[in-house]
């Protein structure tokens, strides 16, 4: 159904090749997993295989691309492919679930068409519900349904598990299993999950297919090495005592929660979406005030100054003209001496000295995450909080991050991080806390 021969894609028509002579055939109904490091060309190849490359990309494609026997190098047939992006919130347009799904239906499908697609994707019961009130997992499902409504022959999901907890990701892949003869292509860093779901795994590196094997025969990268040393634990850095917190009175998040973070500790917060992990980090930083209970840094300094918080999306904060300026921003705001020297020192420590003069927006996602971390560390905080630090990171960046966090703790800092990735938690954390709607389950 999909055939490429010598497929080349260049971002500007003459720049480096993002895809470099790809030759593939994909059958109808096949389940394909695309794996490889960041920047390998997984998403770009996926766009081509679904025929949406001319909509999603601005570069130049060459070679042969046939979709259902038609030449599609200059654009796929209308309605051939659907695509679901990693953040479902950016691609949902309507107010309710039913409206969103109906937006993709062919004219004249009416209620029977809408009902059928809602039944197929398990959304019938919540068709009148407002999308804004749904969890990310359900929003992802609505996105998929919106695309399935136009009955695509192929569906691409680009890093769909980045924002999902394990249970929501399992449910997503169960849904993808039930899509009949729709060809489904998933680009993701979670190789183990892809191997269990897909018929076939294609591994890309530098725009070239380096492996194309049946999924059963694919050996995913081994998980990060489990941490065995307990670390050297010192005095208390941050104390949370008997916390109570609720966004709405009827739905308390924390009821009597306590936690001490000590020097040398790396504490992982695990739990499903909505369990309170991010809320706890925001409380620790002082962005939220507990209803009752106490949070204090042992140094006695304000939490806003003593605690560094790295957000999940690095783009929320980056704005400066150079990486060095970005990292000097916090020390300058805190009135610390020689902010540029501090920035340079942190960049050197994180192995980013070579990109001090680069514009942050031109960096890869993994590099932005590290710059975002550097920009927080430059403030000299001894307590470091990170919200889903592994989302969207490939294996190489995961290893770098794990080492950085362990080193930070070894040097006497305290790390508190929220993650959906139990393997990363096992590799980094000296202690793990599982949250369940604010209840602690050690």
């Amino acid at each position: 159904m999909i055939r490429t021969v010598g497929l080349i894609y260049e971002a500007n028509g003459h720049g480096p090749r993002i895809l470099n002579g790809i030759g593939l055939t994909v059958a109808r109904g096949e389940r394909v997993g695309l794996v490889g490091p960041s920047g390998a060309g997984k998403s770009t190849l996926g766009y081509h295989l679904c025929g949406v490359h001319t909509l999603a990309l601005n570069g130049h494609s060459r070679g042969t691309l046939h979709l259902e026997g038609q030449d599609a190098i200059h654009g796929g047939p209308r309605g051939f492919g659907g695509m679901v992006l990693q953040n479902p919130e950016t691609q949902l347009f309507c107010r309710t679930v039913g409206e969103e799904v109906a937006l993709g239906l062919p004219v004249g499908s009416g209620e029977p068409g809408l009902g059928a697609i809602l039944d197929r994707t398990g959304l019938q019961a919540i068709r009148e519900q407002e999308i804004a009130t749904l969890s990310l997992g359900w929003k992802q499902r609505v996105s998929i349904s919106g695309m399935l409504a136009m009955a695509p022959k192929a569906l691409l999901l680009d890093e769909p598990t980045n924002y999902l907890d394990g249970r929501a990701a399992d449910a997503l892949f169960d849904l993808l299993d039930d899509l009949g003869d729709t060809t489904v292509i998933v680009a993701d860093h979670d190789e183990r999950r892809l191997r269990n779901w897909a018929d076939r795994i294609i591994r890309l590196e530098d725009g070239t297919v380096v492996l194309d094997v049946p999924a059963a025969g694919y050996l995913p990268s081994p998980p990060l090495e489990r941490r065995t040393d307990p670390g050297s634990v010192g005095g208390i850095l941050l104390a949370m005592e008997d916390l109570h917190f609720a966004y709405e009175k009827a739905r308390p998040i924390f009821q009597g929660f306590s936690l001490d973070l000590r020097e040398g500790e790396a504490v992982a917060l695990l739990g499903s979406n909505g369990a309170g992990k991010t809320t706890l980090l925001r409380l620790a930083k002082g962005l939220l005030k507990p209803g009752s209970g106490r949070i204090r840094a042992a140094s006695g300094r304000p939490l806003m100054r003593e605690v560094g918080l790295v957000f999940q999306n690095p783009d929320d904060g980056l704005f400066a003209a150079s990486v060095e300026d970005e990292c000097a921003f916090l020390p300058r705001n805190l009135g610390l001496e020689r902010p540029r020297d501090r920035a340079r020192a942190v960049l050197a420590r994180l192995g980013l000295a070579g990109m001090a003069d680069q514009v942050p927006f031109t960096l890869s996602y993994g590099e932005k995450r590290r710059v975002s971390l550097a920009s927080v560390l430059a403030g000299g905080a001894r307590i470091l909080c990170l919200d889903e630090p592994t989302a969207g990171l490939d294996r190489g960046n995961l290893e770098i991050l794990a080492e950085l966090l362990k080193e930070y703790a070894r040097e006497g800092g305290g790390v508190l991080f929220a993650t959906h990735d139990p393997a990363f938690a096992a590799a980094v954390a000296t202690r793990t806390i599982r949250l369940d709607g604010g209840r602690r389950d050690p």
Partner: protein, 204 residues
């Protein structure tokens, strides 16, 4: 009631009401319209999230606007006390007008499924690009405010104090991430709609 009319009727009522609210000058007419709209909004059971958003977006700029109106009053009357009265008397209908327009907008959106609205606009031969542009404008302006709060929070965590947000460097730290986030969001949304067959010009 208005929201039980067919979509075309609702659209006509909404456009007519918006036009009237924009041109009417008599303050008592505006206050009356505000009262009627509030009653209708209660009957329509506007979702709490929408009502909160409306209150937030209407009330937040009021202090700044009050400063501007009072300054203009000082300029017009020559004294601060007379200027304050002059400014506040003019601010009241102005704020009411903005609030009414936003409330009418939210009520219309709450009562009108977007696919139905799209279908009507297509029947009126309004090109997809223009229809989607208008719908995106009215639908996603509120989400920009949420984005602003997120970016402000991120920069506060990086030591930027609230009082410095209005300095040139503070504004840059707010505006750049906000602008880039909106560009990314627009790109993703446009792509999602184009793939679903809306406003596609690149596809053969």
């Amino acid at each position: 009631m208005t929201w039980r009319l067919p979509v075309q009727g609702r659209l006509v009522v909404f456009l007519g009401a918006s036009l009237a609210l924009s041109v009417v000058q008599a303050p008592w007419l505006l206050y009356g319209a505000a009262g009627v709209l509030c009653l209708l909004a209660c009957r329509q059971r506007l979702p709490r999230r929408m009502a909160r958003l409306l209150a937030w977006t209407t009330l937040m700029p009021l202090p700044w606007m009050a400063v501007l109106f009072v300054l203009a009053g000082r300029e017009a009357t020559g004294t601060w006390s007379a200027g304050a009265v002059w400014g506040l008397v003019r601010l009241a209908p102005y704020g009411t007008r903005i609030g009414c327009l936003m409330l009418a907008n939210l009520m219309f959106l709450n009562a009108t499924p977007l696919p139905e609205l799209m279908a009507v606009l297509r029947r009126l031969a309004i090109p997809d690009r223009i229809a989607l542009f208008l719908m995106t404008l009215i639908r996603f302006l509120p989400s920009v405010l949420q984005e602003v709060r997120r970016v402000v929070e991120a920069q506060r965590c990086r030591g930027l104090e609230r009082r410095r947000l209005l300095t040139p460097s503070g504004l840059l730290a707010l505006a750049v991430p906000l602008f880039l986030a909106q560009i990314q969001k627009s790109h993703d949304l446009a792509l999602s709609l184009e793939i679903r067959g809306y406003a596609s010009s690149k596809q053969p």
